[in-house]
Symmetry: C2
């Protein structure tokens, strides 16, 4: 089975391709930017983006969107994680968390899959907490301040990919696609 | 002359109607939510939103979008001011500005006007700085931490409307429309 991944991010495509192979699914890459609406809910944003894109792409495809959510900050930075990272960065998040006891946080990935008719969503989530300082030099984005099982994602290297939110969302999609084949 | 303002915010409509009257322009209200794409540039976002909306609304209309920009935070919260206000709020901005000397900030409003054929944009900007504490109980959003000429917008009450970014953008639009009539 073949499915198209629409993303402008080569790293995301490679990860999807690698995981797809284990499920006997061939992931094709369509390198393309697309319109993402503003919104407070990552799932709604991904769904809407896929619906708009489905008007142009007629065959089955999926897109992926993800973010860091901090309950003590009412879900900030959430759907705007990328903008927040580019502006206030890891230092800004640490400053905002200064003096806050509840440091719980999670990464959420949402995949919106267009099956040729409807858009379905799949989620992957990994729970951790905001570290008290920047640690590690692998990974990207908020990885150096996201602590999972004692280490930050930026300290874990490849091990991160075994537990990541994106992997979990991809596995949910590929499991679904495999069941369809039966 | 008549022009339609598409907004779900009654306060914004009333302000536009009031200012329009001074220019002999009748502002009609179309209460409607519309799709706003994500992006780093407020002008691009407003333009794109109007272009998408123009596919449905055939007559001339305008929309307005605004945000608070803090250069020392690389433009944060910018286009996502509303989400940032709802999550980390004024307290969050003050925390981020703690220890930062350059407290300059500005409010920017962008109006995107569809003339029946093309989308034109008009900007209004007001420069001030981030106060060191929350002051005043009028206005809304970031008004209590935005200081203009010694007072915060939330301390100024109606006087704010005389200098506001939104007013300046509306005046730019209405001046343009008035010139067209000649």
């Amino acid at each position: 089975m073949k499915v198209t991944f629409v993303t402008s991010n080569e790293g995301k495509y490679r990860e999807a391709k690698y995981i797809g192979e284990r499920y006997g699914i061939e992931v094709e890459w369509l390198r393309k930017e697309y319109l993402e609406p503003q919104g407070n809910d990552l799932k709604e944003i991904a769904k809407k983006s896929a619906e708009i894109l489905a008007e142009k792409i007629k065959k089955p495809f999926f897109i992926e969107d993800s973010g860091l959510f901090i309950p003590a900050l009412r879900g900030f930075p959430g759907p705007y994680s990328s903008f927040v990272f580019k502006t206030i960065g890891n230092e800004g998040i640490l400053k905002l968390m200064d003096g806050i006891e509840d440091r719980r946080a999670y990464f959420l990935a949402v995949i919106a899959f267009f099956d040729g008719k409807n858009v379905l969503t799949f989620e992957g989530r990994v729970d951790g907490k905001i570290a008290t300082e920047i640690r590690g030099d692998k990974g990207f984005g908020f990885d150096p301040i996201f602590e999972y099982d004692g280490k930050t994602f930026a300290e874990m290297g490849d091990k991160k990919n075994e537990v990541s939110h994106r992997r979990r969302a991809l596995e949910a999609l590929f499991s679904y696609l495999n069941k369809l084949k039966i």
